[in-house]
């Protein structure tokens, strides 16, 4: 598979160098640790927000570092969680004395590495709290799995918790709101193609031209079931049915139709039109929305739908100013 890269070994470092070159006003990059921090460093008295995970999901997470969102993001290898040393370095770099919130997507590796880093931070006298995002309804949350995956709701958690931290709220409050956003959010993803990890060189799975994979995560891992390709409105209906079976689609909603990296914006808007019509039929209201590529899987074709049941507080925090490479408004 063709890729616009220099070499598989340097793909993450090259992307980080480019991010730093494109947005010197927003971020600076610690190239040794592969950590993206806000330009200007730690903000005294403000809770620091650190997230991170495998690379290949851009703009997540480095693209969400900046005013009103993250203070730092740790970039792992492609689809591989960062190591404790990276998270520890990020935590120290953004600690302004009010504690640091770790925003972790629920994958075994991410959780293990962040918790090891939290212990190291505690040795330095830095208080941390964690929120583990697990919004993917495609995975049964039971004793028989590693629990639900963290996917699209991560963007909502980072934005909304980031807004509250910017207002000067204490660590406990920021963690509470982060967990509330996660609890109120559900996601479902669909792939039309697989994707190719640069170091592997081969697509992670094979899909026939007339097949789609339902219930995918964000790592090119196969989903739970395979189905024949269908019109977008039917695929959207399947996704919303899966979400509604888990949490009612009611009241004011924040809805994201997210591209997996290789889906034209035209198709994403087509999907959002179907989502919008279906949610209206189901008696709920889309109060806020995002349509575009916000949490991707390299060049995969496909999309995910994430729905968050808003409250007045969450809507206000969503609307608060944000200035990052990936999300910008109000400032």
């Amino acid at each position: 598979m063709k890729k616009l890269i220099n070499a598989p070994e340097t793909v993450v470092a090259d992307a980080l160098a480019g991010l730093a070159a494109a947005h010197p006003d927003l971020v600076s990059v610690d190239t040794a640790n592969k950590v993206v921090t806000r330009a200007g460093g730690a903000v005294a008295g403000k809770v620091g927000l650190v997230s991170g995970g495998g690379s290949g999901h851009e703009p997540l997470h480095g693209g969400y570092v900046g005013y009103g969102m993250l203070d730092a993001a740790c970039a792992g290898e492609v689809f591989t969680s960062p190591v404790p040393g990276q998270v520890h370095a990020a935590t120290k770099a953004v600690s302004g004395g009010a504690g640091v919130l770790h925003i972790i997507k629920n994958y075994t590796g991410d959780v293990l590495n962040f918790r090891m880093a939290a212990e190291d931070a505690a040795d330095d006298g830095i208080e941390t709290a964690e929120v583990v995002v697990n919004d993917d309804v495609a995975v049964q949350d039971s004793l028989y799995t590693a629990g639900r995956r963290g996917v699209g709701a991560t963007v909502f958690v980072e934005k909304i918790a980031g807004a509250l931290a910017e207002r000067g709220a204490p660590l406990g409050e920021v963690a509470r709101v982060a967990r509330e956003v996660n609890e109120r959010s559900r996601s479902f993803g669909v792939a039309l193609t697989s994707c190719t990890v640069p170091a592997a060189g081969q697509p992670t799975f094979d899909l026939a031209d007339d097949e789609i994979e339902l219930g995918i995560g964000i790592h090119g891992e196969p989903g739970r079931t395979r189905a024949p390709l269908a019109p977008a409105r039917e695929i959207v209906e399947t996704a919303l049915d899966a979400i509604a079976a888990d949490q009612p689609l009611a009241g004011d909603l924040l809805v994201m139709v997210n591209g997996m990296g290789g889906t034209p914006l035209m198709d994403l808007y087509g999907a959002f039109g179907a989502v919008s019509a279906s949610i209206a039929r189901r008696g709920a209201r889309i109060a806020r929305n995002l349509v575009g590529n916000y949490i991707t899987s390299l060049e995969m074709q496909g999309f995910s739908v994430t729905v968050c049941q808003l409250t007045d507080e969450l809507t206000q925090l969503w609307d608060a100013p944000v200035q990052t490479a990936g999300l910008r408004w109000g400032r």
Binding site: G54, G76, E77, V78, F79, T80, S81, P82, V83, P84, G85, Y107, T108, G109, L112, N113, M116, A138, V139, Q140, L143, Y144, T145, A146, R149, V197, A199, A200, Q202, T204, F205, G217, H219, G220, E221, P222, R224
Partner: protein, 213 residues
């Protein structure tokens, strides 16, 4: 088995993981995210560099440096899990300069306990525990039976291989493969496969040492 022997084991492991990198990644592509071989190869490559650059006078020192380096270079779940395994084994070996079979058996038992606790995995969950646990048991039995070093390590490897092979028919209950549910059946667990390779390297280095001795 002295520090030089343990360094030879880890060096052999790095070579084997490097050779079998694509095999491990293919296993991971089937039920995970296609990075296990690349991640372990990067980690053990870093370990080889660290061992070349630092004094490791005891078996415990060799394994501690191995564990610390894996944690700081591998990432994913396998970094903390393998890192913890080697660190626990190192702690079990203490300052001993020449570890016999009983000390090795105790060290691998400690490694297994560390992995079980951190990964919250049991036998049958389709993880590295399914290779490590039977291997540790087989070695302990061989030690109890007074087996020779060669026979005991053969038993270790046979049990690890059989354990890894047995994961093929299991449904994953832990880690990323658990998201697949029934679709994880029919594929060997990459972590169990790499565990079997690491233990095989131990046996192969011991066999080579024997011929030299």
């Amino acid at each position: 088995m002295d520090a030089a022997f343990f360094r030879a084991w880890i060096t052999e492991t790095a070579a084997v993981i490097g050779e079998r990198r694509d095999y491990l990644t293919r296993l991971d592509a089937a039920i995970g995210d296609a990075d296990h071989g690349a991640n372990l190869a990067r980690g053990f490559g870093a370990v080889t560099g660290a061992l070349a650059g630092q004094e490791t006078p005891t078996p415990g020192a060799v394994l501690k440096l191995t564990g610390v380096t894996l944690i700081s270079t591998v990432g994913g779940a396998s970094g903390p899990l393998y890192g913890t395994a080697f660190r626990r084994a190192a702690r079990s070996l203490g300052d001993e300069t020449d570890a016999g079979l009983p000390a090795l058996a105790a060290a691998l038992q400690a490694a297994l306990e560390g992995v079980r606790k951190l990964g919250e995995a049991s036998e049958g969950d389709k993880t590295m525990v399914d290779a490590l646990a039977p291997a540790v048991d087989a070695l302990a039995r061989a030690v109890d039976d007074g087996a020779s070093e060669a026979a005991a390590l053969d038993a270790l490897v046979a049990a690890a291989d059989a354990g890894a092979e047995a994961t093929t028919d299991m449904k994953a209950l832990k880690g990323r493969a658990s998201y697949l549910g029934d679709r994880s059946v029919g594929h060997t667990d990459p972590g169990a496969a790499s565990t079997a390779l690491i233990l095989r390297a131990l046996r192969d280095v011991a066999a080579r040492h024997d011929t030299v001795r």
